[in-house]
């Protein structure tokens, strides 16, 4: 008769708090909640715009409440965190070979920041011009 009795350990619900690496991962993924909220606020603005000037001005006014500013700052911080951590992971998903050598990680990361800067300037131009 076998004496085997493999013991299965339960995964605690707070597993992601036990190690900083997992906590950072959860913050990266969790940032999507606030980014979704931010896009809903923007979509709401577009809807209000379609309803006329008064409605749109009401929306603009609502954005100036301290709570709204707090939410936007939080969304900005999380979006930046997501961007930085995501760019640092990007080389893992890119497989570019030049002259028989794999493109270096830092070149790929720099390329992402470069593209980010170009898109940001382009968007600022559209908004301000």
């Amino acid at each position: 008769m076998t004496k085997r009795k493999p013991y299965k350990r339960e995964l605690p619900t707070d597993w992601w708090l036990k190690h900083a690496f997992y906590t950072k991962y959860m913050i990266r993924e969790g940032s999507s909640v606030l980014i979704t909220l931010y896009s809903l606020i923007l979509a709401w603005g577009v809807l209000r715009l379609s309803q006329g000037e008064a409605a749109f001005n009401g929306w603009l006014e609502a954005l100036q409440s301290p709570f709204s500013i707090f939410i936007h700052l939080l969304a900005l911080a999380l979006a930046l965190y997501h961007t930085i951590t995501w760019f640092s992971l990007a080389p893992k998903a890119v497989d570019l070979w030049l002259k028989g050598k794999r493109l270096e990680d830092k070149v790929i990361v720099a390329g992402h920041y470069g593209a980010f800067a170009v898109v940001t300037v382009f968007c600022l131009l559209i908004i301000t011009l």
Partner: protein, 245 residues
């Protein structure tokens, strides 16, 4: 006598007498060049001969001595007491695997997954021996070499919360091994393996936590292998829309 001592907590589990694991503390003489594995051997030789753990090569080649050292998956032979001293070290069996006894885990599921990914070269066309060997340039080898360095120690599975949450996920090492063969210029089995890759339990079970690559003792970078396979899987899906098999 003023010998330096270090305290080591070991999670014990003896299936024939214990309902659940418990922690036992040992005091081991400390020297800076002593590995965790050597400390365990000291315990077995001098303090408690009933303690069980796997080991073989003592030099990070065999992949037997994987365990949780202060909650981090490590090879016992590649982790040293000097990095913990004078603090206590706590040793537990590799996370996410059932415990067989003490620091020994049941790896059957992991081995099954390694076998499932068809980890061998499937030539496009069988060549006759008289036609000679399958040749490869250094560049062709560079495309897969990193992913072939895996020693099947299982540290990446212990680091993967997706595997912990649902062990149907094929997992880091098996997918890296799959990538190793798909990326080999001598192999023609990609179509067969893409069926495994494309599943929910294949690459899409991965949420890119990335800890597997951090703990890997051989720098295999399974997270990269999986993300590259996701790209391949997406291409496969797009091509499949226009050109069904």
């Amino acid at each position: 006598m003023s010998e330096l001592m270090i305290e080591i907590d070991v999670l014990r589990y003896r299936p024939e007498m214990d309902e659940k694991p418990f922690t036992q503390m040992f005091e081991v003489p400390y020297t800076p060049d002593m590995s965790i594995l050597e400390a365990l051997q000291y315990i077995k030789d001098h303090l408690d001969s009933t303690i069980s753990f796997r080991w073989s090569c003592r030099m990070a080649i065999c992949g037997s001595c994987g365990m949780m050292v202060n909650g981090v998956p490590k090879l016992g032979c590649k982790a040293f007491l000097r990095d913990y001293y004078p603090k206590k070290v706590s040793l537990e069996p590799l996370a996410n695997f059932p415990i067989e006894r003490d620091l020994v885990v049941v790896m059957d599921d992991f081995i099954k997954k390694l076998e499932e990914v068809k980890p061998y070269i499937i030539p496009e066309k069988e060549k006759c021996l008289s036609e000679g060997t399958y040749q490869q340039t250094p560049e062709q080898m560079a495309k897969f070499k990193q992913f072939s360095m895996c020693i099947n120690c299982g540290l990446c599975y212990a680091a993967c919360p997706q595997y912990a949450l649902d062990n149907k996920f094929t997992g880091p090492a098996a997918l890296a091994l799959l990538a190793r063969y798909n990326r080999d210029s001598r192999d023609g089995g990609e179509a067969q393996r893409m069926k495994i890759v494309n599943q929910e339990e294949g690459v899409w079970g991965c949420t890119f936590v990335g800890y597997c690559s951090v703990v890997c003792p051989k720098d295999v970078d399974p997270a990269a292998a999986i993300q590259l396979l996701k790209v391949e899987s997406s291409k496969d899906y797009l091509i499949g829309m226009f050109k069904p098999e």
